[in-house]
Every structure is written in structure tokens, then in C-alpha cells.
């Protein structure tokens, strides 16, 4: 943190030690947000490195490393990317941006906010520390299905504390995100500036609100499942989940997916909100269909609680028609969003800087992720594709080119607000294109391999025609994408110190409240707030539309359709 902290004018006489202490003890939502993003970025690099190990193993038929090592690699890659990268980095941006967007001084509970950050770091380090112990880290996949994850002798999960550290780590992360979710709910409901009604909130704040509901209602169910599995492994003798001792492995799957399907939306909704902020700004148009977009977001949130068993179609323990129908329904609000984004860009004055490129890339590639998801919703198709690389391709199109692209768009978009300097656009373009080309090289072949029947989670594969070539393309793609990630890292470090200065409050001519204060904002965010009479108060003020506002708080003529 010290290097980061050094760039922020603090005015302390105590030097670097004082600055460091200030960051370690801060309850300011902006500093906490930056620490979330930085910590998640470091974890994300580790997770990315593990994915390179996985891809290297698959470059040719024949095993390079043992199956056990490979199991640890893909398990920890997934666990890190989901729990330690995508979720906390979105939490970090939400921490920084949401109080600014609603015109608040800080979060509702600043100290609980700091507590969430430190519990998150503790849980992450706990999970990763398993590599240092005998038996290594968790190796049962991020889904940790019993009996693979139970401690019966001869199991896939090697003996040792790796799995237990994983369980306790994820419980800690769950506590952190539940506390964070409570905080966002109260902040968004109770801390909005005068005039900021619910239907004037920026779209990113809306998606964070729905996400917070999902976190608060779903994460505790995961915690209960993790505790039962921990008990199973340590004393309860597998009575809950291990079929060998009378437990029900499907019970774990039900409890796990009751959290983990909403978790997909916990990971994708904030990036959807980010894209909905970036696209209008660089299309020079308001977001098309604001209310429809809000309804679609709420609809996805509600539906997310009744679709979990579509992960378990092949178990035979699921009422197929209901979960097939409910899963298909998810396509409707998601489709509404796709049309919102396209209509926002339609006939807009498009500015293709890096933030916009990542947002457009999100819309394009998330479409592939979404449509392959609809394939899986159909039970007969799912029976054929279950546990093949098609699933891997699908989920990475949603998360790696969806959620992660949204996060990169947010980085380029809000960096000037956070640090008062721009990220370098030239490096940004290289970053985008290597990511765009690299990720498609990885995940499109995976979709094709899946259709061809290649199973996932194996360290060696049969010498079938074309499989080796497809895997090699994917492996090269992984390295191309990683080059992009390293360039981005260099860009961030370089730009914090030497980037082009951003003197303006509102460099992008955006409309939401975070652009009404200085870049970076003062400790208490706002010296003054513009009148909030629409969902774009800063735009209204700049263009004189605030004059429409009456003292009763009526809306001016709608600026969105």
C-alpha cells in the first residue's frame, strides 16, 4: 500500500510510516475501495498464473504434472478468480463509486466496511496458505462436491488441511461479503442525497443494490453448507454429505447451488451496471430504457433464487420441467438489457476509447456467454454437454470476457476520478486487443471441444482428431491474454505516478454525481451537490436543465425514453 499511498496528498508530517498507518486504519470508503481493488488485483494475478499452469498442462496429450497437482491448480484458479478477484474487485469499485453516485459522505457503517476488507484479506490468505501444508491446497474443484471433498481414504482430495483451510477461508469471505452487502443495502436505502429518488439512481448503484440483496440472502446458505461439510470432515464422520456413511451428496449440491447460482449474478450484475454507465457516456446519449433496465435487473435478482437446480439436471434428483422453464425465463430480462445497450449506442456519437472498447467487448462476448447459457437450460442439450468443455467455455464467456471486461472498463472509466490521472490510452488499446483476441482464442475452441465431447477437469485427454490443435490454440490464447494483463498492470503503476493529469472534475462529460466533485474527491466527497432532478444531475446542471425543477421535487421532462 505504501507506494499507492505516496501518491495521495495527505498532508501528514509523519512521512511514509504515517501514511501507511493512515491506510491501514482508514474507514474512508474511497481508500477501502482502492485497497479492495488492489488486493483483488494481486489475487487475480495469482489466479491468472494458475490458469497458465492449467493451459500449459493441456498443450499436448500426455500428462506433464500429476493429476493431484492439476486438480489443485484448476480448483484454486476458480476459487481465486471467483471469491478473491471478481467479487471483491466489484465490491471495491462499488465501495468507491456508490457513495459518490448517491451523493453520500461515506458508507452507512464505515467501520464495518473496514472490517469487511480485513476479513476478506484474512480469508483469502487463509485459502492460499494451504499450498504451504502437506497435501497442498483444495483439489475438489471450486464446487467441492462430496464425496470428492470428504476425507475418506483413497479420495481425490488428498489428506491434509487444504480442504479445511479452503472451507474456513470461504466462510470468512462469506462473512466479509455479507457484512458488505448489509452495508450497501443501508447505504443505498438511507444515505441518498436530497432529490436522489430510487428511480434517479445511477444504473451502477441499482445493480449494486440488487447484488447486495443477493449477497445478504444467499451467502448465509453457503455458510451453512460449508459448516456442515467442515463438520463432516472433522468429527461428524460424513453423516451429512458422504453417501458411504449415509449422507446425501445431493444435499450439498442443493445448498451449494442455492448460493452459487445467485453468486453468478453477484458477479455479473455490477459489471452490467458498469457497462450501463460507460456506454451512454461514450455514445453521448442517455441510457435507453432506464426503467426497463431497472426492472430487468430486479427481475434477474428474483429469478436467480429459483433456478439453482439447473446445475444438477443430470443427478436425477431434480424436477426438470420447473427448473428448465425458470432458467429459460432468465433469458428475458437479460435480453432486455442487451437491447438497452444496443439501442443506447444506436445513432449515438460513439467515442472508442479503451473504457468504451471494453464495454462494447463486454456486450459482444457476454452475448455468446448468455446464449450458450440458454443452450444449457434445455435439459436434453444439458444432458449431452454436462461436464464437458462447453460448460467451461460458457462460464468463461460470462465471467472472463463478461465480468472481467466490465471490471477493466470500470478501471479506465473511473481511474481519473480515483487518482487524478488518466490511464495511458495507447497501452490501453494494446491491453484491450490482446485481451479480446486472447480470450476468444481460449474460449471459442473450448466451446468446440465441448461439443466434441471433451470432459472438463482432466489433466490428460484422448488423442482424438483436432483436440490437440484446439487445446494448443487455447493455450497460446491464454498467454496472449496474460500479456494484456501484464501490460494493464504496468499501465496502472505507471499512470498513478506519471499518467496524464486530469484537472477536471468531469473529464468524460458524464452525468452522474461522482463527476460533480474533484478528482480525486476530498475526504468527505462533496463541497456542494448539484440539484438532483433526474438520473443525470451533473448533465442537467451543465446544460441548464435544472431550471425545470420545481420545489415539490417533480421530475423535469424525462431525459431517457
Amino acid at each position: 500500500m505504501a507506494t499507492l499511498a505516496g501518491t495521495v496528498p495527505t498532508g501528514y508530517a509523519g512521512g511514509r510510516a504515517q501514511v501507511l498507518l493512515d491506510w491501514l486504519t482508514t474507514v474512508d470508503h474511497k481508500k477501502i475501495g482502492i485497497m479492495y481493488v488492489v488486493a483483488a488485483g494481486v489475487f487475480g494475478l495469482v489466479g491468472g498464473a494458475l490458469s497458465l499452469v492449467v493451459r500449459t498442462e493441456l498443450i499436448e496429450t500426455g500428462a506433464i504434472m500429476g493429476a493431484d497437482t492439476y486438480n489443485q491448480m484448476f480448483t484454486m484458479h476458480a476459487s481465486i478468480m471467483l471469491f478473491l478477484f471478481i467479487m471483491p474487485v466489484a465490491t471495491g469499485f462499488a465501495n468507491y463509486v456508490v457513495p459518490l453516485q448517491i451523493g453520500a459522505l461515506d458508507m452507512a457503517f464505515p467501520r464495518i466496511n473496514a472490517l469487511s476488507l480485513w476479513i476478506f484479506l484474512f480469508g483469502g490468505i487463509l485459502m492460499l496458505s494451504a499450498f504451504a501444508f502437506d497435501g497442498g491446497a483444495a483439489a475438489a474443484g471450486w464446487t467441492a462436491y462430496p464425496p470428492i471433498s470428504s476425507n475418506t481414504a483413497g479420495n481425490i482430495q488428498p489428506a491434509g488441511v487444504g480442504m479445511d483451510l479452503w472451507l474456513v477461508g470461504v466462510i470468512a469471505l462469506g462473512v466479509a461479503s455479507t457484512a458488505g452487502g448489509l452495508n450497501f443495502l443501508v447505504t443505498i436505502f438511507k444515505m441518498r442525497a436530497p432529490g436522489m429518488t430510487m428511480f434517479r439512481m445511477p444504473m451502477f448503484t441499482w445493480t449494486v443494490l440488487v447484488t447486495a440483496f443477493l449477497v445478504v440472502l444467499a451467502t448465509p446458505v453457503l455458510a451453512s453448507a460449508l459448516i456442515l461439510l467442515f463438520a463432516d470432515r472433522n468429527g461428524a464422520g460424513g453423516v451429512f454429505f458422504d453417501p458411504a456413511t449415509g449422507g446425501q451428496s445431493i444435499l450439498w449440491q442443493n445448498l451449494f447451488w442455492f448460493y452459487s447460482h445467485p453468486a453468478v449474478y453477484i458477479m455479473i450484475l455490477p459489471p452490467m451496471g458498469i457497462v450501463s454507465e460507460v456506454l451512454p457516456v461514450f455514445s453521448r446519449k442517455p441510457l435507453f430504457g432506464y426503467r426497463a433496465f431497472v426492472m430487468a435487473t430486479v427481475g434477474i435478482g428474483l429469478l436467480s433464487f429459483i433456478v439453482w437446480a439447473h446445475h444438477m439436471f443430470t443427478t436425477g434428483g431434480v424436477f426438470l420441467p420447473f427448473f428448465m422453464a425458470s432458467t429459460f425465463l432468465i433469458g428475458i430480462p437479460t435480453g432486455v438489457k442487451m437491447f438497452n445497450w444496443m439501442a443506447t449506442m444506436h445513432k449515438g456519437s460513439l467515442h472508442f476509447n479503451t473504457a468504451m472498447l471494453f464495454a462494447v467487448g463486454f456486450v459482444m462476448l457476454f452475448l455468446i456467454g448468455g446464449i450458450t447459457g440458454v443452450f444449457h437450460a434445455a435439459v436434453p442439450v444439458d444432458f449431452a454437454l454436462h461436464d464437458t468443455y462447453f460448460v467451461v467455455g460458457h462460464l468463461h464467456y460470462v465471467l472472463a470476457t463478461g465480468a472481467a471486461f466490465g471490471i477493466f472498463a470500470a478501471s479506465y472509466f473511473w481511474f481519473p476520478k480515483m487518482f487524478g490521472r488518466f490511464l495511458n490510452e495507447g497501452l490501453g488499446k494494446i491491453h484491450f486487443w490482446s485481451m479480446f483476441i486472447g480470450t476468444n482464442m481460449i474460449f471459442w475452441p473450448q466451446l468446440m471441444l465441448g461439443l466434441d465431447g471433451m470432459p472438463r477437469r482432466i489433466n490428460d485427454y484422448a488423442d482424438n482428431p483436432g483436440w490437440e490443435l484446439m487445446n494448443q490454440i487455447a493455450t497460446v490464447g491464454a498467454f496472449v491474454a496474460m500479456v494484456g494483463a501484464v501490460i494493464f498492470l504496468f499501465n496502472v503503476v505507471h499512470s498513478i505516478y506519471w499518467g496524464e493529469k486530469c484537472e477536471e472534475d468531469n473529464p468524460w462529460d458524464a452525468g452522474t454525481l461522482e463527476w460533480a466533485t474533484t478528482s480525486p474527491p476530498p475526504v468527505y466527497n462533496f463541497d456542494r451537490l448539484p440539484r438532483v432532478r433526474s438520473e443525470r444531475p451533473v448533465f442537467d446542471e451543465r446544460h441548464g436543465l435544472g431550471a425545470y425543477a420545481s420545489s415539490e421535487g417533480e421530475s423535469p421532462p424525462q431525459t431517457s425514453s
Binding site: 452507512a108 457503517f109 464495518i112 455479507t178 452487502g181 448489509l182 452495508n183 443495502l185 443501508v186 436505502f189 438511507k190 444515505m191 441518498r192 436530497p194 429518488t197 445478504v216 440472502l217 444467499a218 451467502t219 448465509p220 446458505v221 453457503l222 455458510a223 451453512s224 453448507a225 459448516i227 456442515l228 463438520a231 468429527g235 461428524a236 464422520g237 453423516v239 451429512f240 449415509g246 449422507g247 446425501q248 444435499l251 442443493n254 445448498l255 442455492f258
Partner: protein
Amino acid sequence: MASRTAARQPVNPLKSFFVGNEPMTNGLWGMVFFIFSEIMFFSGLIAAYLALREDALEWAPLIEGVYDHHAILEAEFRPVFFTILLVASSIPMQLAAFAIRKGNRGGMKLGMLVVMVIGTAFLLNQAVEWMHADFAIGDGPYSATFYLLTGFHGAHVLGGLLFIAFLWMRSYLGHFDAHRNTAVEAATMYWHFVGAVWILVFSLLFLA
């Protein structure tokens, strides 16, 4: 917006009873959402209990001659007594909240003291229950769910007691009055929740 219009809103009797007539503070909203998350946590545990019980051939300790909850309930009044006691302790806790709403800190402390005594007694009885139970957690689904449900409920009782004890000590520093009492109201809500969960857990473990 809420703060501006709160004064003009008609009185909601339910809200008025639980949190008084002043606007809900952030802290109280936080406690409401926290209780929602706790409900989901216990839902997960109880779902596991119901699923295992549905599947079990016989729902009792698998070892013959050991402590069985139906038997103990027929022989002794103790479990019912402590259940009534814990649920009834919501009354002194709510009276403590009523007292501090009127600025009566002495009344609040008295109510809290009663709650702390009852809560501690309840936990001691749980310890007796666990000593009676001559089966281990790994003996089967009956024993595992018994220890986990009572254990996690007990942990929540302990958490509530520590919360209330902390507030009780703070009151000696002159904290809390008719207008600044969010923490007391929040603790009261939480205590009601702990009692309500016990009704459910007790019904499942002893009665069903």
C-alpha cells in the same frame, strides 16, 4: 426522502411497538437486514436437517438405550421449562427498550439484567442437555444435526448475551437516552430473533 416525510406519516402500530415512533436509524436497518441473513443461515441448517430426516429409516440415536429426546420430554419438564423461559425473556428485553424510549435508564438496566440471568440459565441448561446426550456428533444424522442446531443456536444466544452485557456496561458510562438508543433497540430485535429460532429448533428436535 424518508427523513423529510417521516413526521407526517400515520403511526404504524407494529413499527411503533418494535422501534418506537422516531424514524428508523441506519443501525436498525442494518440489524433488520442482518436478521434476514441469519434467517437464511438457519434455513440452510434446517433444510439439511429435514432432508436427512426425510431419508432416514428411523429417527433416533442409532445406539440402543441412550438418551432420546422424546423419552426425555416425557420424563422431565426441564426442556419445556427453559424453552418457555427463553421465549418469555423477550418480554423483559422489550420492556427495557420501552424504558429507554422514555429515558428511564434504570428500568432498562433492570430489564437487561433479567434477560442476562435467563439467557445464562438457558445456556447452562443446554450444557446439561449436552452432558445427558451420551452420543457423539459422528454417531449418525440424528446426533450430528442435534449438536449443530443446538450448538449454533447456543452460539447465537451467547452472542446476544455478550451484546446485551456490553450495552449494560455502556449504560454505566451514561450512554443511551430517550433519543439515542439504536443499539438497545437493535439488541432487542436480535433477542426476539434468537427466541423465535429456538421455538423452531425445539419443535424440530424435541416435538416432531
